[in-house]
Symmetry: C2
Subunit: 399 residues, 2 copies
Amino acid sequence: MTDWTHHYATRASRMQASEIRELLKLLDQPDIISFAGGIPDPELFPTAEIAEACRKILSDPASAAVALQYATSEGYLPLRQWIAAYMGRLGVVCTEDNILITNGSQQGLDFIGKLFLSPNDTVLVAWPTYLGALQAFNAYEAQYARLPDADHPYVVKTGNPAPKFGYVMPEFQNPTGTSMSEAERVALLDAAEALDLPLVEDTAYEHLRYDGERAPTLLALASERAGGIDNAKVMYLGTFSKSVVPSLRIGWVVAPQEVIRKLVLIKQGSDLNASPFAQMVMREVAATIFDTHTAKIRKAYKERRDAMLKALADYMPATATWTKPEGGMFVWLTLPAHIDGAELLQRAIKDIRVAFVPGTAFFADRSGRNTVRLNFSLNSPQTINEGIKRLAGLIEPAI
Amino acid sequence: MTDWTHHYATRASRMQASEIRELLKLLDQPDIISFAGGIPDPELFPTAEIAEACRKILSDPASAAVALQYATSEGYLPLRQWIAAYMGRLGVVCTEDNILITNGSQQGLDFIGKLFLSPNDTVLVAWPTYLGALQAFNAYEAQYARLPDADHPYVVKTGNPAPKFGYVMPEFQNPTGTSMSEAERVALLDAAEALDLPLVEDTAYEHLRYDGERAPTLLALASERAGGIDNAKVMYLGTFSKSVVPSLRIGWVVAPQEVIRKLVLIKQGSDLNASPFAQMVMREVAATIFDTHTAKIRKAYKERRDAMLKALADYMPATATWTKPEGGMFVWLTLPAHIDGAELLQRAIKDIRVAFVPGTAFFADRSGRNTVRLNFSLNSPQTINEGIKRLAGLIEPAI
């Protein structure tokens, strides 16, 4: 086979297939209990409503002609208007001109990387953080440092260039499931302001709260401080992938207009526009059932979270600790220091037919080898109980 | 408003809104005859077939669950298999492992830029070339030089790094509408081989041939030379945007497996996966009506091309020349040297309510100021005749 390496850009060396992902690809076998994914349960999809929206849009020749043609890069206006109103309910005052439609929030991460990152620029991320964000920013040859919190202030080193932005999931973080309190959010905004650091607020699981109280979004807090969204230095990423369906690939960025205008040019050069058909279907479905549907999936996922927390309490040895998330899709398990998550996965698949994601994948420095991400959104409470029981049995003997 | 400039990557300075695009955005008024777009006629969309495919896929719970979920980054297997068979009909021997599904071929251009281009790398392009390719590569801070042809050999300068790839539309080029003969393709492959230069073959209009004979694709010729696609240095971009509908955003890259594996990682980091629903709909529609539907749109567009060539011959002054395309969507008009296409557009919109795209946008060096791109796919033969008549009247007096 021809060698292509010398033709590639320098960034290509940062694009390696993950061994874990390759391993997890093989897990379609029905006898495996998988806590590995981060995907919604297809049993809960609003299929009938989506089918009806497709039928309605395509049965009218005028709307069909719009739905099937090219479209503007910023996105379908009625959908952006729906999102602007939704953002208002979250305390963010914005208009459709503050919104770009993206292919899921993953594309928002890619575009923000493209707009902000030159090679060797630094991004501040949590330790651990969302794996897909690291993948998106790696393509722009980013370096990483730790996002400041109470225990880890960011120390400016003389001669080092300023970090380009901080990336954070304040609600039900992937992978830990934990949320930031309002005081922590305010402290982060203070630190960012002192560093002149824009923040990227990723809220993929925002609507999946099962108990506790929501703290204001970073964008709402920053807009209030700055006297309006266009002076705030926060970019908010939202998505319908977890609240409605992933497959229509509809996410959004809410940001100051100046940033949105640049991101629209990036959208144009990257893939021209999001599917107007998909956007029209999503607008129709969201306008009809967003609240009732998200209430329904919250009810289902809450039972599964409860089942996972109960099973962990029932079966795990005292040397293991885990997060108690108020929402989202994940519990983060910290094992005794001598256990390697990747090795445990190999054994778990072979011996007990249970899968999960080892934690190192979520650390920019590949630390956290004794941590594990467990997803609870895809299995029934009974299956969750059985899987955690088996997993605990595999950990116990090593202690 | 806050100034963001110092936060941006160096590439952001290459992302400027085009004045022409902004002007053309305003052209939705019904009294304008627009030759500006490059879009298919929505009257010809296979709406009923798409609606039926949506209904079929979503009415079966098993296929609906796949259609609405996340999916693999490489794309929906039955669609890749359909495309592999289609490529076989074009003389390209490949398997589904040589194929990545992208959001239209624009995303293929973006991904190839991402994989190959570091800042200041050189891309060889035609003079003129597709504007969207320049936009895609600009984001990776490319430089441009002229793709070699019989009149313009590429001169290697000592000390200059080798160009990273050549970008070419051998069939019905956007913007000129012209195609390369087999001899020209062979000569380009010879030149590329001598330079160790990968080629990107963009075939967005490939199926829109109205007369004349198709020459073999560069990928077919290169595969034959190299003893198989995996040793060929050509990446082929295809799309359903012009043959079926743009809005499902389904394009594809056909390339050696090593390149596809890298592009799959890029897809994963950029937006995870193309919509499985859109891919399943497209597979269903393509498998059912691709040949009959493309025959139907060829018939309609041929009449429009004929009408445009006749009107140009009937009305244009002897000092103007134009291409006679055997297919595609465009005619390229070269005006007397003293006429500026951008100025002509301003006057044409104001005085005669006719729009088109000035040619400079398609030149990497912004030359070609007396050229103009005319689209014929969107208007009826009568409207085309009227628009060209008006345009010729605007040119005549200046001579």
